[in-house]
Symmetry: none
Subunit: 307 residues, 5 copies
């Protein structure tokens, strides 16, 4: 096995061989297999934003099989989705690409300042669907965060016992934070830390901005002169916040739409030591050939084939 | 994914995607990956025959890590062993090769006409060790067979619920059969049928001889003029007995020791439509380089690279 | 075994030998081993205050392994942390220092007058990580205190059945109290009493001030002329409130930053019969050699080697 | 066994012999053993009011063992306390005096119009500590009463299944009642009825005043000319409200401080058919010899040795 | 931590940190702490052979506390005994010496060719008693061996999940073997292999004789010229049979009674790479001072302080 993959697995020595095996599967699949870098396709927008908002731009995406195929053709490390989307293709695509079953999701037919996802799948669902990992979203900053932390704690304990990996989407949001604060560098670093403390193997956060949200944190950033001017510096800080880089941290593609600016962002993530990207809308909302081309370029950045 | 693998998976449409995924893993790994053919390394002889009889010829085999490495280097589809041997290497080799955890075993410090294995592992052990399948031996012909059938039924139900594949070693033996009958073509075909009826995904039997054990069967073989003159014919018959070839049937390497005769046997298995070989002693009791060379030749036969 | 350790264990005769064994492990490890005194390293600030505020001053602390090593090198009795931090080092440091798994934690991305921690670990997590004790924070004075009391009651019952010790951080805070009241001597003594009544083996409180928060209490303190002028007197009162000194009470290092004032405080704790200190930020935010030197001085006070 | 004890046990024929055995233990222990009368020592004030307010007047009371010893020396029927206090002496005093484990408690670091106790122990805790009964406080009149009713229902069901007796402290209090109403005779009678309806074996209420709280009740008391002029009459009414005297009702000592007035009250309880007293602060806040003398006098009243 | 201890722990990377911690405790305690060598005191003869046969020679041994004290004073790594003996001292000696709870035992009031132990304790008993490991005896060669293999499999899975270590006494005996065969080198090596395959962390066997029991094995020993002339050679072979020395194998003291011959045997075990001795009768049947002197000499051999 590739030395980098071994090195990363060694950070998780508390875990059993089943979990290590599934972490290895995530790292060994696709065009970035063996590099310790990740590009994952996540498609939970149908549940989170509604079908038309998610799939009308590229109607192929209404079909659950489209996303399995897209992830596979693009050479992604894994495909992540809620229960229904995985159930609708897991048999047909069995064994072709590692799967991550998202175990909670929020719909947007009910609003509110404080997001509160529903539990939409189980660890045993992940086993019967052949998934390598469970996925779970926490919303630090929400009035309901503790409920989510308690849920992932319990699910994570079960997943680890049964040999699965645990991927946590850590999205600061809710009445405890300003809108700008959701991507503030102090908040994103904190969100990464929380996910790691809750036992995540892989943490997904948003690319951090240079804003600092919390007054108490601001004093420290200034006093210690923590470099946060460039995206690469901010990513480096977030990766450090994830147990000195000993947990895998990947970044969402964000909302930027044009390819050039996304690739710039990806370069920043790479240069800061980020482990990869998880790119949903910017992948499946483009026509298939454009999406494949786009994902190829993203992977080339992580593979070091382009600056 | 390879068309042949898809075709084979299609025989198991009742199974959940987790089990299909693990079947696919067994079929996609190693030098025969994608061909629908198998060469598996099994090492349970330490338990079954004792350590010196198993490993003194090639003392490297005392070390559990040797067999992981051998299976990996040779490009086998999987490595199968009892609990202790897998525990002793599963963390170090996590993610490198599909594993099959043997859940029952017999030692030979107590004899008796009717073999009766002990339960030596659990489905949850398979999950925590990252195995793709459970393995189980039944002894049709033993006075105690029904106990084994009941055990594999229960373990199989659990394994399938948890997304694992089920491999059954079906070895006719016991007071219901003559020694010659253990490999009689009617008995081997019957043993394959029993394993399939008990829900096995993969069945392992011994290469059948031309002997016919049971009088009632003999009449039919003669009346229907079932061709059993050559090994290929007998293998074809056994494969037919395994649900018209819609279950994977693989064959043990037997006790023949010289390479030429084993390769002859393998050709017979291939020509009869057998899915592959599971070769223990003839692999790990040779020096490593000889073993690798030997396994390469076996795989070449299955891959159609040699006659 | 040391007579003092035996004497202390005798206070816990209701507990089973498993719990007594783990209490003994906490008392027998490190430089204060056998004295019945404690210096414990707790590191939950990454979760509670965020990573930069916790670790930027001494960036080594981003790495979870740093704290295991620091606690070990300093000769602390134990190291306490949340799930993620312990998982990231428990295999590597197995058997080297007693561990306390913190089972609840609050982050500060969501504020509010009434603190409400999330459950972040389980008793079975403590067993699989090899911890000697569970840790739990209650916030008397919070509108949500009863939920916490109910949680620790349940966790404590399970921990005791499984042979673990129970450490309760009792921090008065919330809308029922003034800011000054959080460290008022009547409130701290009351907080110690509550933790003991809830079944804690070891109670951690803040060093009490001379302020008295509750009118009903004030009358009694004045009428009974309870001495609370010096820290030693106040500590003695708090220790008395912990079942007449028959429960182990340890004190947090507070926020004071210079070594001299902390050592003064430690002397007050020692002179009042306090059992020790639990010192986080003042340890891990200093450079390693300074921290080791500082902790040595603290231990010397408890060991009676300095005035 | 004494006829009176048999007669009382006969009221509880629905209960299993385990519960009857524990009710008998409560009735057969101490100076009032066999009379069907009770004097019980309860010590939950450390949790309810704080340690200094509870124990500073007689500092011996900080030590949990003091109360076991006091109850034993005074010849009380039982000693009742929260988890921590019982854990701290149950092994040492095992078998010496019946114990009642209080399963809920309120602290007073957080106020509010509507009391809401925390669950602080379990039925299994009672079993492992050797207690004869569980104790539980309900606050009829509180906005949160239904939560408490639901809790005691569940705990009571479990306690009865496991052979324990159930003692309910029924204290009207909360935003549904005036301060004066908390001891109004209609309210106290009602509180006794509620506790009995919830399945209590033994009910503890406060001595009722002649005040009538509820207008609807007042009409009936006047129309039916229910005698409530003297304490004995009011106690008789409350006892009648407790299933026509077929449930054990005992009365708290209240806040009166001088011995003469307490003894007067006790005579009223006795003359009205009350089953006894539960006296905490008036016992353990006096010096030990005074307390023993005082409790002896109370018992003499119930034993009919004094007017 | 000692490098040798780390090296040994590394053989068990599949295990969780709790189990590693308890393995470390066994290796770090006593006079041989840190050497990777073991001397363990086992006392199950009271159950196995009866009290007079076991303790009359040194009547101090009737008292369970004697053996805790003996193991402690001698500096043994651990003390192993059945439930009752541990219950009778575990509280008093809590935290003083690692304990191994024997979970099965045979009495000798019922004979028979095939030994069949009773289950006499549980994994949860081990937790509540503070034990570091469970112990279990298997009798390869017994007609009832499979029942034992199934039991230890199940207990072992539970013990590992709960962070305990697993010690297996592997004693070939029963109608499948001759008396001489019980200690035959082929049989002892086979017994070690079986215990390892069943998942044991530590295996205990008897010192092997030069006899070879099984004809099939004899051919191999002769063909491969496996050296078995000296005890050291035979021990080396048995250690090799225990996963190439990657499992801890310790040896019983046997029945030899004079100190010189035992020490000779211990030298052989040491020279062959055995990990230590487990010495019962030869320890506790001697007067205490003699026993301490004897155990000191044994430990000196393992510590390399004597030839």
């Amino acid at each position: 096995m590739n030395e980098r993959v071994r090195e990363i697995l060694d950070w998780y020595r508390t875990d059993n061989p089943g979990t290590l095996t599934n972490l290895a599967r995530l790292m060994n699949h696709g065009r970035l297999g063996g590099t310790g870098r990740f590009v994952i396709l996540p498609v939970d927008q149908g549940f989170e934003h509604g079908p038309a908002r998610s799939f009308a731009a590229n109607p192929s995406g209404y079909d659950p099989r489209y996303h399995f195929d897209l992830a596979l053709a693009a050479g992604c490390n894994a495909y992540a989705a809620p229960l229904g989307f995985l159930e609708a293709g897991a048999a047909e695509f069995a064994g072709e690409i590692p799967l991550i079953l998202k175990l909670n999701n929020s719909d947007s037919l009910y609003g509110g300042a404080d997001p509160s996802p529903a539990i939409t799948g189980s660890v045993d669902d992940a086993l019967r669907l052949g998934a390598s990992a469970i996925g779970f979203t926490i919303y630090p900053g929400s009035a309901l965060r503790n409920e989510m932390y308690g849920q992932i704690r319990e699910l994570s304990e079960e997943a680890k016992r049964k040999g699965l990996a645990v991927v946590v989407w850590s999205y600061p949001r809710g009445s405890g934070l300003s809108k700008e604060g959701e991507t503030a560098v102090d908040v994103v670093a904190y969100a990464a830390q929380i996910a790691c403390q809750l036992g995540a193997h892989i943490v997904k956060v948003k690319p951090p901005s240079a804003h600092i949200e919390q007054a108490a944190a601001k004093k420290v950033y200034e006093k210690e002169r923590i470099p946060i001017a460039t995206l690469a510096e901010r990513v480096r800080h977030v990766v450090q916040a994830a147990f000195a880089g000993r947990r895998i941290v990947i970044f969402s593609g964000g909302e930027s739409k044009d390819t050039a600016s996304i690739l710039d962002e990806v370069r920043g993530i790479r240069d800061g030591g980020g482990f990869g990207s998880i790119i949903g809308r910017n992948s499946f909302q483009r026509p298939r050939s454009e999406a494949l081309d786009f994902l190829r370029q993203v992977m080339d950045v992580y593979a070091g084939k382009t600056k």
